[in-house]
């Protein structure tokens, strides 16, 4: 790598990371007329040409997951250990990001998610904080995302959903067999089950052609217009404005800070290995909460020796990751009807019945649950499956079509020492220190996981399962690819990194519009909330900040 190439022309805005949130920013900014360049370290694939139902390629050989040799991460479970290499939270790093491979759960957050500290006060060992805005501020943007991006669901089916201003643009899929079992079992137990809002369309919304009915879904790319993928929706829409340019396989290694304390742009390594500087009036980070924090830490200067905009010292801290926990139920081939657990588009019926705090359960908060696909032959989900021999063969033969799974997205509490920082030993393919995760679950996380997995077992048993395999929380593995909290939004610059618009308190033209800003994790899959927030922040950038103005929200306490 090399010569500094000549500087390209400055632009209005740079976006780093073109996943769910960077893609949303690209659409909003370019449609508002800002000349914008989007960088992604990963490839810019063509869905209709590169995606198909190849389990080995997509699920086992990391065609979309980050290559662990090129972009390793490390983890340690206590402060004194040396961190080990581990593919923690391997969200695809590519144009479209995690929306390329996701199942697409897009439930709305709840009003309580924005005010955990007001509701619960000081919780020992946790660092709860309220958000600097409320559900009502986000609601219009939730609706915008649901309609522009494409979400299927049934308005009014979720008994506990807060106010919504509009229904869904697409009806849900027909139920799978295990989905039907889930509805029946929930009705028996008095639980409000409904089709989890799904980032896919089943109709021709926005001219899409959702021909993919293959059941190759979670972790696979979708060659059709069914999946709501940034790659096939907001990126082409942004390009169509003529104001947006994609630079793929371009690795941004530093945000540059000028003498005036504002970001001047970024330094990146282009696909041929040249180092290039790109200037812009505004720099927007959307790499995900791990990599956005890492890039800010790599962007050290005399003004910010501990990482860009990190005067609070909070950068990287209070990281939350959710964790997918679940229970599998096995049925008897000789007696029961097949469940065809490999069918469907991963999620099916789900519920938020157990979402709000009920202290009699022994924990605060709660989370979403859902029946979901047990997936395809190589990797079908049966934790504890015999690894070889006749027992393995019998297990596959007897249970592949006779298994059902009910999972949950753990609403983990923020803990200041759970954090992302730079690993002192391990480097990536560009020779830069990788993100190191330090994490120990809060006792509330363990208790919630145990209580909810056990509740899921009750539902499985009501559905007729004859054996259950619970997966409880042991340690955080990042298996949801959800990342939040590493650059908290808040009103007080000593207790947060970003303000209510995702704007760095200390660097006025630096914005972070991914999950980094989430003060608490929420108990729902975060992407809808993130995208709505990215839309909201991007609108502020285009309509207020770029016009030389400043506004703030006043919250009624």
């Amino acid at each position: 790598m090399s010569v500094f190439k000549r500087k390209p022309e400055p632009v209005d805005a740079i976006i780093v990371g073109l996943g769910a949130n960077g893609g949303t920013a690209a659409k909003v900014l370019s449609e508002a007329g800002l000349k914008t360049i989007g960088f992604d370290r990963g490839p810019w694939l063509r869905a209709h040409e590169h995606y198909s139902g190849d389990e080995l390629k997509f699920v086992n050989r990391d065609y979309m997951w980050p290559d662990p040799k090129m972009f390793p991460r490390t983890i340690r479970y206590d402060e004194n250990s040396e961190a080990e290499r581990f593919p923690f939270s391997p969200t695809p790093q590519m144009v479209g990001g995690g929306t390329n491979h996701w199942a697409g759960w897009v439930p709305r957050p709840r009003e309580s998610d924005f005010m955990m500290r007001s509701l619960h006060g000081d919780i020992d060992g946790a660092s709860l904080a309220d958000w600097p805005f409320r559900y009502e501020h986000l609601e219009p943007y939730l609706t915008k995302v649901e309609w522009a991006f494409g979400v299927s669901g049934i308005a009014g089916a979720d008994k506990y959903e807060p106010y919504r201003s509009k229904g869904y643009p697409s009806p849900p899929l027909r139920p799978t067999r295990y989905g039907k079992r889930f509805y029946d079992a929930c009705n028996k137990l008095g639980i409000n089950a409904f089709p989890i809002p799904h980032a896919m369309v089943t109709n021709n919304h926005n001219g899409r052609d959702p021909f993919n009915q293959t059941s190759f879904w979670n972790q696979y790319g979708d060659p059709s217009g069914a999946r709501s993928n940034i790659l096939t929706t907001f990126i082409p829409e942004a390009l169509a404005t003529g104001n947006f340019e994609v630079r793929a396989e371009s690795f941004v290694r530093e945000v540059k800070l000028g003498k005036d304390g504002k970001a001047t742009g970024v330094i990146y390594i282009d696909p041929d290995g040249n180092e290039v500087e790109q200037e812009a009036k505004v720099v927007i980070l959307a790499l995900g909460a791990i990599e956005s924090a890492r890039l800010m830490m790599l962007s050290k200067s005399s003004q910010f020796p501990d990482g860009l905009a990190n005067g609070s010292g909070l950068l990287g801290k209070n990281a939350t990751f959710h964790e997918y926990l679940f229970a599998v139920g096995l049925f008897d081939k000789d007696i029961d009807e097949p469940l065809n657990g490999w069918t469907g588009n991963y999620i099916s019926g789900g519920s938020l019945e157990f979402y709000e705090t009920d202290e009699s359960r022994g924990h605060i908060g709660g989370c979403i649950i859902s029946a979901s696909q047990t997936c395809h032959p190589i990797n079908w989900v049966f934790p504890g499956r015999p690894s070889w021999g006749e027992a393995l063969k019998d297990a596959d033969r007897n249970y592949f079509n006779y298994a059902m799974k009910i999972g949950l997205i753990l609403h983990d509490l923020p803990v200041e020492s759970n954090r992302v920082d730079l690993d002192p030993n391990v480097k990536d393919a560009f020779g830069l220190p990788v993100a190191r995760i330090t994490h120990r679950p809060h006792s509330n996380d363990v208790a919630m996981g145990k209580w909810q997995v056990d509740k899921n077992i009750e539902i499985l048993e009501a559905a007729g399962a004859r054996k259950t395999v619970p997966v409880y929380l042991d340690k955080m593995t990042g298996n949801t690819c959800h990342q939040h909290g590493t650059a908290r939004m808040g009103t007080d610059p000593s207790k947060s990194v970003l303000n209510e618009w995702g704007q760095a308190h200390e660097v006025e033209n630096l914005f972070v519009v991914d999950g980094s800003g989430f003060p608490t994790a929420t108990g729902v899959n975060p992407t809808l909330t993130m995208m709505a927030n990215a839309w909201r922040c991007s609108e502020y950038i285009a309509e207020v900040y770029s016009k030389g103005r400043e506004e703030h929200l006043a919250l009624v306490k």
Binding site: D54, L56, F211, Y324, P377, I378
Partner: protein, 240 residues
């Protein structure tokens, strides 16, 4: 540099009946074939031997030309640049893992059973796999129980695996992969398990392969599945 989106398609689907060896020696081939046949044994249904799992593993270990099938299954992708560097390094490690693992398996077999692994009886081969696995041979799954486990990862990548876990994972992959990779001959793994997979990867790209008949069959009414809809204040009704 060729960008990932422009990786060229090279080669052709692997012929499962080939006896050409790209990586293994003849002895290694026979040893791996024998071991995979104990991992997924042949009974009233075909096992790893019939599904040509050894062909699948040999191609995979031969370099980086059989890592990713082209989306439509017409051949394989030619990996470029930093991706190729990473895969070459990883493959060199895995080749070493296999070479040394096979040698170790033979050494122990000679020591404990008096012959190399492939020449042992099935029962003795199972003993040796038990030895290198470091755990008792897995017992049959029984119903009527609850067995807790912790930690679950979505993907199962093979980087850094030791010989026996790698061999178990690759055997499973070779038994159930798309046949383009050389295993799962005639889709026998899929037929055995009851998975009605696509005729070709191409059929998954254009709507030809459709699985809706395996969803819930027949009529359904969202108002029955979701009783709350009957009292919901939302006026829009759901179509089924």
């Amino acid at each position: 540099m060729t960008l990932k989106a422009d990786w060229e398609v090279i080669g052709a689907p692997v012929d499962p009946d080939t006896t050409d060896r790209l990586f293994f020696t003849e002895h290694e081939w026979e040893t791996v074939e024998a071991a995979t046949a104990r991992i997924i044994p042949t009974d009233q249904d075909p096992g790893a031997r019939e599904a040509r799992v050894v062909v699948f593993i040999d191609r995979y270990l031969s370099g980086i030309d059989y890592v990713y099938a082209a989306a439509d299954g017409s051949g394989f992708l030619k990996i470029s640049g930093r991706y190729a560097d990473a895969w070459r390094a990883r493959m060199a490690d895995m080749q070493k893992t296999y070479r040394e693992g096979i040698r170790d398996l033979d050494d122990r077999s000679v020591l404990e059973k008096g012959a190399r692994f492939k020449d042992l009886s099935e029962a003795d081969q199972d003993d040796m796999l038990e030895t290198i696995s470091g755990a008792p041979k897995p017992g049959k799954v029984t119903l009527g129980t609850k067995e807790a486990v912790t930690t679950f990862l979505q993907g199962s990548f093979d980087e850094g695996l030791e010989f026996f876990p790698a061999l178990c994972l690759h055997t499973r992959q070779g038994f159930y992969c798309d046949p383009v990779y050389g295993g799962n001959k005639d889709q026998m793994g899929w037929k055995f398990i009851g998975f009605p997979g696509p005729k070709s990867l191409k059929d998954t790209m254009d709507g030809t392969y459709n699985t809706h008949e395996y969803f819930h069959e027949g009529e359904y009414d969202w108002h029955e599945l979701i009783p709350h809809l009957k009292v919901s204040t939302w006026a829009e009704s759901a179509d089924s």
